[in-house]
């Protein structure tokens, strides 16, 4: 270690400081290359980024999606000021629909204007096929239509709100076969990779498919973005008469991408601005502003290049990586500056080069350890099962390494090119807070311990109240269209989060001669003569039996009866419509078969294909759950549905499958507790190990871990007390903040060890440390806290919490490191006995 340290110091002395221009040119070349690679840097906001990696349910959900051929669509809600079915509103709606229909990449639009009306006025069943009416038919009775829409099992909550004030237009986007094919192939390869059964040629093919998939996806995304912009432009023309919102998965993904881009820009620039401001206030020197900014810019550009190089896609979770990177680079640079100035103040006679070398030499070890602990914090995220969180862990671990290397390589040669800073001796920092904290600790040591103890107990109680229940809608600010649109759809148009219940029917064996039974020759001949029925058995139309439909309707009614569910669509919906037409009687087998064979292809695609797979002998119930329902407990709901379908409705356990976004989302949420415990456990363990290596004393390591436990505890406790749920973003707070906050502890103890040797007096050492490293700790923490506070400007609520809570963690860590930590050191005296009173 010491040899390595001296080797590195020699490298700095003989290479970097000797030939600063060459060193700078080399760095500029590397950064230029990475800057060029930054063009491949991509964003991802698909629903896939919200689910667990390697989730069995994800595989099943993909299977179901492809089996039932689900088409992508956008939902536009339209709430007119006047009566929904008034001539004026309908003519506006017609124009709106026609404009949407006229768009190049809209395959169809379904609205109240287009759907068949069966009871306005009622038409005898026999004539239905020939005389399907819509709102646009001349013979339609609008009063009856109103009643029909209000009561229709099909249209209510799908196309109209129950109060008939809001209607929805479903804008279907064309099926993208290339995307589906590429996705299926990619998923196949992914599964094979998970089983480690990829051959060498398949690995190459897999890479190719991934690239094709990304290229195609990015192309589609651009097109979709334009389409959505066009749809919004159309909507704007109708806003004077009605309130319109756009919703749907594609729109959410598109808006999220815009949010991420916006966040990257705002946070990046905002943090940069605050950093300049903070540096200006602390150092009041152009060079101490420009130099850190240069280090930050180079680190950020290099990191973006690495992201492009490694194909790590930035998601909502990692959308703040640039700001984090800037903050961490800044902290390292501030430590170097403060140390340089300290040295320069102490030895005004020393040469510029010697001062720089000393600063680098002295700060190398603590900065390396501080970086390693921060990497441990972010690295612990790799233990999660959530892909964007894992990627975030990788990104930041790489980012911190880049920052450390970049700052240490760039700071010395650039500083070499400047002249030595003339510091006036005796100039004290205007920030005397650290010194007063030293005085406070000396005077009120017991009080600090008591307060810390109380904070600890309160935190534990708060932690026990933590929840993982997250409403997707609540991820967005109330002012965003995502929030407003989802809220209207959620509350008035049948809910937002999709849940699929798949029910299998018993497998029926094909007819075969029952050999062991008493088959007479006569019987057998007769059956042979009428073998036309054996052939007919396999035909789809005979699959629809009244017994099966009765079961479908029972399950449908059960699902619809749950308070948390909004719209339920299934074969049961169609059965209800048909039953109405059949004088209130359920269809018999014969009518069902007839209905199946007589249904025009267009309607079959609409009412059958998404809800039944005859080939697989199963039906699908498409449910939308009301996400904004405060009482919604996702995990309990899913458990209840599974339990009730088996125990109350008598289905076999193996015949019931729950899938869809709600299941995947819930799996992710349920994994949060485990992930949180796992990541935190690993961080604390890693810290302990590092403390032991660094300080070579169990006592010191235990003392060092305590202030960090307190800051994690307070953050999680505050979340518990304020009912802030754990989510994908907030579970990263504890690990990250402890990773960053621990820097304070390391720097403080490292300095304490050195300073203690001077007079072996704990109290005096404490005052010296507070007056020196205390300043650097204070500056870096304040910079970090202010930097994180920029995240408050995000449209994504978890980012806001992340910013505030990480800031809180840093504040607690700073206070604890300057009060609790020295108090513990003073009480437990881990560095040995004091010298006699001085």
């Amino acid at each position: 270690m010491t040899t390595l340290h001296s080797l590195t110091v020699r490298f700095f002395d003989k290479v970097i400081l000797k030939r600063p221009i060459l060193a700078i040119l080399f760095i500029v070349a590397v950064v230029s290359f990475l800057g060029y690679k930054a063009k491949d840097f991509t964003l991802d906001a698909s629903a896939e980024t919200l689910v667990l990696q390697n989730d069995e349910d994800l595989r099943y959900s993909r299977l179901i999606d492809s089996r039932y051929g689900l088409q992508e669509y956008l939902v536009m809600t339209y709430a007119p000021e006047g009566d929904l079915l008034s001539d004026n509103v309908l003519s506006n709606l017609t124009r709106l629909r026609d404009e949407l229909k006229g768009m190049e990449r809209v395959s169809s639009v379904v609205s109240i204007l287009d759907v068949p009306l069966l009871e306005s006025p009622p038409v005898p069943v026999k004539e239905l096929a020939a005389k399907i009416q819509t709102l646009e038919s001349e013979t339609v009775d609008k009063k009856l239509a109103k009643i029909e829409f209000k009561n229709s099992p099909l249209y209510q909550n799908l196309l109209v709100s129950p109060d008939l004030k809001t209607t929805a237009l479903l804008i279907y986007l064309p099926i993208d076969d290339i995307y589906r094919d590429l996705l299926a192939r990619r998923n196949d390869f992914q599964e094979k990779q998970a089983d480690s059964s990829l051959t060498a040629s398949e690995v190459a093919e897999f890479r190719k498919v991934i690239e094709q998939f990304r290229n195609h996806r990015d192309k589609i995304r651009k097109i979709r973005h334009q389409d959505i912009a066009e749809i919004r432009a159309i909507m704007d023309k109708y806003r004077q008469d009605a309130q319109l919102f756009l919703g749907g998965v594609s729109m959410i993904a598109d808006d999220l991408i815009s949010f991420i881009k916006n966040d990257l820009k705002v946070f990046g620039l905002g943090v940069l601005f605050f950093l300049i401001l903070t540096l200006g206030i602390i150092f009041r020197k152009i060079r101490w502003i420009l130099l850190p900014i240069l280090c930050c810019a180079f680190s950020a550009i290099s990191m973006m290049g690495l992201l492009g190089l490694f194909d790590w896609e930035v998601t909502v979770i990692s959308s703040n990586f640039i700001s984090l990177q800037l903050i961490i680079t800044m902290a390292i640079t501030i430590h170097l500056i403060v140390r340089y100035r300290e040295l320069s103040l102490k030895n005004p006679e020393a040469g510029h080069r010697q001062l720089i070398l000393d600063a680098v030499r002295l700060m190398m070890k603590p900065c390396l350890y501080a970086a390693l602990t921060t990497i441990a914090g972010f690295g612990s995220l790799l233990l999660c099962d959530i892909l964007p969180v894992i990627t975030f862990g990788w990104m930041m671990s790489a980012g911190i390494s880049v920052s450390l290397v970049m700052t240490f390589l760039l700071f010395p040669p650039v500083l070499m090119l400047t002249s030595k800073e003339p510091l006036r001796p005796g100039k004290k920092s205007r920030f005397s807070l650290t010194s007063s904290l030293a005085g406070f600790t000396q005077a009120h040591g017991a009080f600090i311990l008591i307060i810390s103890g109380i904070a600890f107990i309160l935190s534990v109680i708060g932690i026990s109240r933590l929840e993982v229940e997250n409403s997707f809608i609540d991820y967005f600010k109330h002012t965003t269209e995502i929030y407003q649109g989802m809220k209207v759809i959620d509350q008035n148009l049948g809910g937002t989060t999709p849940l699929d219940v798949i029910v299998d029917f018993e497998k029926v064996e094909a007819s075969a001669p029952a050999a062991k039974l008493e088959t007479t020759t006569e019987d057998s001949d007769e059956f042979d003569e009428f073998d036309e029925f054996d052939e007919a058995e396999s035909k789809n139309k005979y699959w629809f039996t009244s017994a099966k439909m009765a079961r479908v309707v029972t399950v449908h009614d059960y699902l619809e009866g749950l308070p948390e569910t909004g719209k339920v669509l299934s074969l049961g919906t169609m059965m209800k419509v048909a039953e109405k037409l059949n004088n209130g009687k359920p269809l018999d087998n014969f009518q069902l078969a007839l209905l199946y064979s007589e249904l025009p292809e267009k309607f079959r695609e609409m009412v059958l294909t998404p809800y039944v797979s005859v080939e697989h002998n199963q039906v699908r119930f498409s449910i939308r759950v009301r996400d904004s329902e405060k009482s919604l407990r996702r995990n309990e709901l899913l458990k209840k549905i599974r339990h009730d379908l088996v125990n109350k409705l008598g289905l076999k356990k193996e015949h019931v499958h729950l899938t869809g976004m709600l299941v995947l989302y819930n799996n992710m949420l349920q994994s949060l507790f485990k992930s949180q415990i796992l990541t935190l456990g690993v961080v604390i363990l890693a810290l302990m190990v590092m403390f032991l290596i660094l300080f070579r004393s169990l006592k010191v390591a235990l003392i060092a871990i305590f202030p960090n436990l307190l800051s994690i505890g307070v953050v999680l406790g505050v979340m518990g007390w304020f009912n802030l749920p754990l989510d994908m973003m907030t579970i990263t707070i504890a690990s990250i903040s402890v990773g960053i906050a621990v820097d304070d502890t390391i720097h403080y103890i490292h300095r304490f060890t050195q300073e203690f040797q001077i007079d072996r007096n704990y109290i005096l050492t404490m005052h010296r440390c507070h007056g020196s490293i205390g300043h650097a700790m204070f500056y870096t923490s304040v910079t970090i806290i202010i930097g994180f506070s920029i995240l408050v400007l995000s449209n994504f609520i978890p980012s806001i919490y992340f910013g505030l809570l990480t800031g809180l963690a840093m504040l607690i860590a700073l206070i604890a490191s300057l009060t609790l930590l020295p108090q513990l050191i003073v009480v437990f005296k881990p560095f040995g006995h004091e010298a006699k009173e001085s």
Binding site: V125, K131, F533, S597
Partner: protein
């Protein structure tokens, strides 16, 4: 050689004539029964129950209920039934079939029935008909088979949907989850119990 050819020709002509005759007779029989049933339906002086009774009397002799019951279970289940079960099943099935037939007839208003060219295949005759109303045409195929010199219906297809096949799939579903007793109990219950 010539004689052989001649005799083959004669045979073909003969069989065709015989076939044509039988087909025509069966077709006529069907036509009569259908018209009789329609005239009962159009009567205004009797109630629905009486109409049902009369129609059943008219059409019952046309159906081979025994065979239909057997076919609706198919070779998968029928051989496994005891004599008593077969008898009980046939009775219940016949009743169910009659009820269902009457139910369908209620939809009839003023359609015209057109009889199309019949086809004879071995011991079977298929008579396609069309029920034509103002804006709709429904095709119906009556399938007869020969039983001791008379021709009886063993299946009807409406728009390509076979009655026997629909029953077969329904019974298959019940029997694959239960026993013949479950099926018999279900058949004893009135048609289409209302779902919960």
């Amino acid at each position: 050689m010539k004689r052989l050819l001649y005799s083959v020709f004669i045979f073909l002509v003969m069989t065709q004539t015989v076939g044509a005759d039988e087909t025509d007779v069966t077709k006529q029989l069907l036509r009569n029964k259908v018209e009789a049933a329609i005239s009962v339906l159009q009567k205004e002086d009797i109630d629905q129950q009486e109409k049902n009774k009369q129609i059943i009397e008219i059409v019952t002799p046309l159906f081979d209920f025994q065979l239909m019951a057997k076919l609706s279970l198919g070779r998968k289940y029928w051989p496994g039934l005891t004599q008593e079960e077969r008898q009980r099943f046939t009775e219940l099935f016949t009743r169910r079939l009659q009820e269902s037939y009457l139910d369908k007839l209620r939809l009839y208003t003023d359609e015209k029935v057109v009889f199309k060219t019949s086809v004879k295949e071995k011991r079977k005759i298929k008579i396609p008909t069309e029920l034509i109303s103002k804006n709709n045409t429904i095709s119906m195929l009556y399938k007869f088979h020969e039983l001791t010199n008379s021709w009886l219906i063993y299946d009807i297809e409406v728009q390509g949907v076979s009655i026997i096949s629909t029953y077969r799939s329904q019974f298959d579903h019940i029997l694959s989850n239960g026993t013949i007793d479950d099926l018999l109990i279900k058949l004893e219950q009135p048609e289409q119990p209302k779902n919960k």
